[in-house]
């Protein structure tokens, strides 16, 4: 499946519009191949992809850290190169690496970020921001005395210090414990409620499943698919019917060959994989044929593939 089938819509209400974006690094490695992407205002978009897929490269180009080799990016309608002041004002970035000056105080480093974006001082706003991120009591601590999870939140505070409309979070929950991850999701949810558009990259599929509106899968510099989360799960999701037999069998009877069943090692369960989108799932026929073959059913159950299975299948197929 090619990205252009689904992602490049008309782009009318896209806050970020990426067209034909490509990047070849100096060492000749092509990290992005002709990416088209529309990010809708107010959505949470999760970008999934294995290590080295090009997620950080894509974000870095949009934010101005890396020069593109080709293609265009519009943020809020402003070209990210020609009108970089306008476009960057709209963007907040939380980088993948925990990059923070060592001795600076938390409140100072957040105020610095705000100033860099041309906004005048506003200590009350910054104090409130730190409190929202449970950093209220750390305002006057030097950043090198914070834990990794706190540093991550300081980076988020820095990214939000100038009240951006689009927030890029590059693996916001990498190395963050389960509880803090839930907190982080709550923060992201609140931001969305405020109308901030959020793009996050992650390796945790349950994260995408939990908070994203749309999911994009990127591999080897290409967007394999980008879709509403639910649609994606329905569309690409395979369902499985597991048939438990009263008596174990050694081989699958010839009558059942056309169903491509899988027999478990013990020989007492048969698994049938079918496509939910198909007009006929073949279940009725299968169950009939099972009986005709003289097998006795003990139990049947169905399961639907998770986003994780979808992801793994997509990336495998692409390789």
């Amino acid at each position: 499946m090619k990205a252009s089938d689904t992602s490049a819509e008309t782009g009318v209400n896209a806050i970020v519009q990426v067209r034909g974006l490509s990047k070849t690094y100096d060492n000749g490695h092509q990290a992005l191949k002709n990416i088209d992407l529309d990010i809708r205002e107010g959505e949470i978009l999760a970008l999934l992809g294995p290590n080295g897929a090009g997620k950080t490269t894509l974000i870095s180009i949009i934010c101005g850290l890396v020069n593109a080799s080709g293609g265009t990016v519009l943020v809020g309608g402003y070209d990210h190169v020609k009108q970089y002041r306008k476009s960057r004002e709209l963007i907040g970035l939380v980088p993948q690496e925990l990059a923070l000056g060592a001795f600076e105080l938390v409140e100072n480093t957040v105020a610095l970020s705000r100033g860099l974006f041309g906004k005048s001082k506003n200590p009350e706003f910054i104090q409130q921001l730190l409190e929202n991120l449970s950093l209220g009591d750390k305002a006057t601590s030097p950043v090198n005395r914070l834990s990794g999870g706190m540093k991550r939140r300081v980076l988020i505070a820095k990214a939000l210090s100038h009240e951006p409309r689009v927030l890029f979070l590059d693996e916001p929950t990498a190395g963050v414990d389960v509880e803090l991850r839930k907190d982080m999701w709550a923060v992201i949810d609140e931001l969305r409620a405020d109308g901030v558009t959020i793009i996050l990259t992650t390796h945790y599929i349950e994260e995408a499943e939990a908070i994203a509106d749309r999911v994009g899968v990127i591999n080897a510099g290409e967007i394999l698919v980008i879709e509403d989360k639910q649609v994606l799960m329905d569309k690409l999701g395979k369902k499985q019917l597991v048939i438990e037999l009263r008596e174990a069998i050694k081989t699958i009877p010839a009558e059942l060959e056309e169903f491509n069943l899988q027999l478990c090692e013990v020989g007492n369960t048969l698994t049938y994989t079918y496509d939910i989108r198909a007009e006929r799932t073949g279940i009725t026929r299968l169950l009939n044929d099972v009986q005709n073959a003289g097998l006795t059913l003990k139990d049947i159950s169905t399961s639907q593939s998770s986003l994780e299975d979808i992801f793994v299948n997509l990336v495998k197929a692409d390789a």
Binding site: G64, R88, E97, F103, E104, R114, G115, L116, G118, K158
Partner: protein, 253 residues
């Protein structure tokens, strides 16, 4: 113009100076005092005056230049190298700020710091020797131009360097020898004729000579030439920085 951004870069850099006040300010003062004790008093007492100026007073402009040059370069180069090294430079790159504004912030702070150090050395020196400044305006002009030019130069080095060794390379291997050989501690009249000619190839000689002229009206080379060399170096650095800016040199992949 994003003035707010210039302001915050400048003040963050000055804050860094305040946090490391001892090494930023005290170390040049101490080393200047040492130079005075060793060269001014111990050795200088055996040297007759140079061009009618006592040796102790003669070396003051040269000592100031020595500190200004090394401090400007190390402050400015470290100022931009460190964010590159720790990765915090992402913030400057993703902000709605031009390269020019970045330079004004970083180079402005480094130059300010050097200027402060220069003044402190001047005050320190006044305790040791009888100072007079014949042309305060030109003294200030040379001082400012030097601080800005070599802070720019340091910024260029900080951009270019991708490890700590390279960061030290130019100051250690190029600048320090050139300052020492550029007449910090002597007038080139004292050298054999061949070495006088060779010394004239040293650009820093012109700087030190011009600066000394603004104090005592004694100079190794014509002061107009000194002025031209200083301004030329400043313009050269500006051009290099501008070219770097156009290519996104080493900051952007």
């Amino acid at each position: 113009m994003n003035f707010e951004a210039i302001k915050v870069i400048y003040s963050a850099e000055m804050r860094r100076t305040r946090n490391t006040l001892l090494q930023s300010i005290a170390s040049p003062v101490i080393s200047t005092c040492l130079y005075f004790v060793v060269f001014g008093s111990a050795i200088g007492s055996r040297i007759e005056s140079v061009g009618g100026v006592s040796y102790g007073a003669f070396i003051v402009p040269g000592l100031m230049m020595l500190s200004l040059l090394t401090q400007s370069i190390s402050n400015a180069s470290f100022g931009i190298f460190f964010p590159k090294f720790t990765g915090t430079v992402y913030e400057v790159l993703s902000a709605p700020i031009s390269f020019f504004e970045v330079i004004v912030g970083y180079v402005g702070a480094a130059a300010t710091k050097s200027l402060i150090i220069g003044v402190i050395i001047l005050i320190t020196a006044s305790f040791f020797v009888d100072l007079r400044i014949a042309h305060p305006f030109w003294m200030l002009a040379f001082l400012l131009m030097t601080c800005v030019a070599f802070s720019l130069f340091g910024f260029i080095i900080g951009l270019w360097a991708d490890n700590f060794e390279k960061l030290q390379l130019v100051p250690l291997l190029v600048i320090t020898p050139l300052v020492f050989l550029g007449g910090t501690f002597y007038s080139i009249d004292m050298l054999p004729p061949l070495w006088q000619k060779i010394s004239l190839l040293n650009p820093l000689l012109y700087l030190i000579s011009g600066f000394r002229w603004s104090f005592y009206e004694v100079a190794d080379v014509n002061v107009g030439l000194s002025l031209m060399m200083t301004a030329g170096f400043l313009i050269g650095c500006l051009i290099v920085v501008w070219l770097m800016f156009r290519s996104g040199y080493k900051l952007k992949q």
